[in-house]
């Protein structure tokens, strides 16, 4: 009983604090930790990361392998939850959401692009792009229309009925980008989107990201290639789970 009372006193106070501190930024992280328990010892993939991203920014996250870039991206994309710390998207406190609410955020607020594309192999490009809309409960006809438009936006109008194994790496990644954009998310996240592509194709994809940014999308991209990072407007360097440098380059 005693503990329950104590909690009752503390929690509203804590929420009060949180409410006072609701940031205006699109993304806001405060002292984010992500700790993995490996048997006896603890691995801290993130050690107190704090930063804000405003609407319309184009951010690159760079850092050596194992520094925590993917861990951070997964938390931003709500695929993972921080062990400690607070995280807001559009003023909503994500770090305390339950599973269903997180699924909704993943569906509506963020679009995720992976290094390995992660398309459903047996589905056509069109169906792959429709998938987020299916989980959003969009009626079939509207779904199809929006998926087509998203594919046109990435110049794949003529490949809609192709399956992933009938597409090149660059085309697959563009399908994945169309899928990420189809539900008009607040932010586009890409974890090493060119990691599996050759140089020419990488440039093509980076041009696409640049265009999407010019069209008003907020983008965060993880990379370890300096010339790719150089295209962003802001570079956050991570080392050993901490932000080492956060600089505006354009």
């Amino acid at each position: 009983m005693l503990t329950a009372q104590v909690q009752e006193e503390i929690v509203p106070y804590g929420e009060l604090l949180a409410q006072e501190a609701v940031p205006a930024a699109l993304i806001s992280m405060r002292d984010i930790w992500r700790t993995y328990q490996m048997g006896e010892e603890q691995v801290h993939a993130l050690r107190g990361v704090s930063f804000d991203v405003q609407k319309g920014e184009y951010v690159a996250i760079i850092g050596p392998s194992g520094s925590g870039k993917s861990t951070l991206m997964n938390i931003i994309g709500c695929l993972d939850t921080p062990t400690r710390g607070r995280y807001w998207i559009n003023g909503k406190l994500v770090s305390e959401m339950d599973d269903d609410e997180l699924a909704r955020i993943r569906n509506k607020e963020v679009g995720f692009v992976f290094q390995t594309f992660n398309l459903l192999p047996r589905a056509t490009a069109l169906h792959n792009v429709e998938l987020p809309l299916i989980y959003a409960g969009v009626p079939a006809a509207e779904r199809r229309e929006r998926a087509k438009r998203a594919l046109m936006a990435v110049d794949l109008a003529d490949r809609m009925m192709h399956k992933p194994n009938e597409l090149s790496g660059g085309q697959r990644q563009r399908v994945a980008i169309a899928r990420a954009l189809v539900n008009h998310p607040s932010i586009l996240l890409a974890d090493e989107p060119t990691g599996a592509l050759d140089t020419a194709t990488s440039r093509e994809i980076m041009n696409l990201f640049e265009r999407l940014h010019e069209e008003g999308n907020t983008i965060i991209i993880v990379t370890h290639e300096p010339d790719i990072a150089a295209r962003a407007h802001r570079i956050i360097s991570i080392r050993d789970g901490r932000i080492e440098k956060d600089e505006r380059v354009k």
Binding site: N74, G77, L79, D80, D99, D100, A103, R104, R106, N107, K108, F112, F114, N118, L119, L120, R122, L131, P132, I134, Y135, A136, G137, A140, R179, A180, N183
Partner: protein
């Protein structure tokens, strides 16, 4: 369109169904091996239930062709028996001609006639039927009274039944069944012709209309292979015989009362002590059908056992295949979660996949069952009772849901980050 809320945000039911069918088509061999158990389970239910329904209908028709107001009385147990008469049964006194006449006097009884079977003579040898060099030992020979015509079991198609006078004066006349007519009188009318029974000449006075029977009937199993002669004449062909079968017909609406009156009368006439069971049996069409149905209950239980084993085997197969499928598609599950699938969406996806798998098994079983019933219909008036396909479909889909639950739950609970990292 009606949409249930919990299905809605996972796209639609159709979407899941479409995906499930696509997945199953991609693994045709694996899918078909998995559903064999379910196919057999449902096939058994449909096949055997149509067999049972067919036999049931045939037996009911045949028994009822003896009249739904008919009461059958004999010293041994009548109906579907699986054993020889017991010692107690063999010790029972015969029913007599006089018993039959006494029953006829009861107020609720319309007709009561004795039958004396003389197919075999008193030494157990067949009494032969002969005409123009043709001989048969398979004809059922019965002595009865003209009143039998009033029982409504047989219809005369040609000529007439013998009359009381012919019985009282022991005239050698007979009424023949349609098969006897076909056999011995293939050309022209048998009326007025003679036929030899046990070495004596009989004059045919009537031919009976053909009776429908279960399974066709051959030789001595053919209900139409029968000759009726006057009771008194039968007594002469088989002297000292007094082992009588009695057919009584109740007045309309008095079947139960007639049964009670006959039972009381026979217990008195046969001096059965009040604390002893009847030493004769008294049955109606309904009670014989009832006997048959309790016999069939055993078959039904065997059917349930076979089909449940089939369904269980199918269920375990489905669980196994779904677990494999979940593991194989870990990345797909991670991807779906990354783009907004909730736990319940994944759960539904896999449940619908499992239910589609077993449901297809059920459907195949259903088709095989119907085909089987079609074959059965060549021999029996078989039909597939409505409940059988309903139970078959519900059971097969239900099996998919029950055994798919655990794999689907495993899939739904996968952590998206780990699922996406899975190789």
């Amino acid at each position: 369109m009606v949409r249930i809320k919990f299905l809605r945000s996972g796209g639609s039911f159709y979407e899941n169904l479409w995906m499930a069918i696509a997945t199953l088509r991609a693994h045709k061999l694996r899918s078909s091996l998995t559903i064999i158990g379910v196919v057999i389970g449902v096939w058994t239910v449909i096949g055997i239930s149509s067999l049972i329904s067919g036999i049931d209908l045939a037996v009911k028709r045949e028994v009822e062709s003896f009249g739904i107001r008919s009461i059958f009385i004999y010293k041994f147990d009548i109906g579907f028996r699986t054993s020889e008469p017991t010692r107690e049964e063999r010790m029972r006194p015969n029913l007599t001609y006089e018993d039959a006449l006494a029953i006829a006097q009861l107020p609720s009884v319309e007709v009561s006639v004795p039958f004396l079977n003389i197919t075999n003579n008193r030494w157990g040898q067949k009494i032969l039927v002969t005409r123009a060099g043709k001989t048969s030992a398979a004809v059922r020979l019965e002595g009865t009274l003209p009143d039998y015509e009033r029982a409504g079991v047989e219809t005369i198609s040609e000529g007439r039944f013998f009359v009381q006078y012919e019985n009282d004066s022991s005239q050698p006349v007979c009424v023949i069944g349609s098969s006897v007519a076909d056999n011995f009188f293939p050309y022209g009318s048998p009326i007025g012709e003679t036929i030899e029974i046990g070495g004596r000449e009989f004059r045919v006075v009537g031919v009976l209309a053909k009776r429908e029977q279960f399974g066709g009937g051959e030789g001595s199993d053919d209900v139409n292979n029968v000759i009726y002669v006057p009771y008194n004449v039968a007594r002469k062909l088989k002297p000292n015989a007094d082992d009588v079968f009695i057919l009584a017909v109740a007045r309309a609406g008095y079947l139960d009362q007639a049964k009670d009156e006959i039972t009381d009368l026979l217990r008195r006439r046969r001096q059965v002590p009040f604390d002893q069971p009847n030493n004769f049996s008294i049955e109606t069409a309904e009670s014989i059908v009832q006997q048959f149905r309790s016999l069939m209950a055993g078959v039904a239980i065997a059917m349930v056992a076979i089909s449940s084993v089939g369904l269980m085997v199918g269920g375990i197969g489905v669980m196994n295949i779904m677990l494999v499928s979940v593991t194989e598609r870990t990345r797909e599950i991670g991807t779906r979660k990354a783009i907004g699938a909730r736990r319940r969406d994944i759960l539904w996806q896999f449940l619908i996949e499992a239910a589609t798998l077993t449901g297809m098994g059920g459907l195949i079983g259903l088709l095989l069952g119907w085909a089987t019933s079609f074959v059965i219909r060549l021999f029996l008036p078989s039909y597939v009772p409505l409940w059988a396909p309903i139970v078959g479909v519900i059971a097969s889909v239900g099996i998919g849901i029950i055994f798919g639950l655990w794999p689907a739950w495993k899939a739904a609970r996968l952590d998206p980050v780990e699922a996406l990292r899975y190789e």
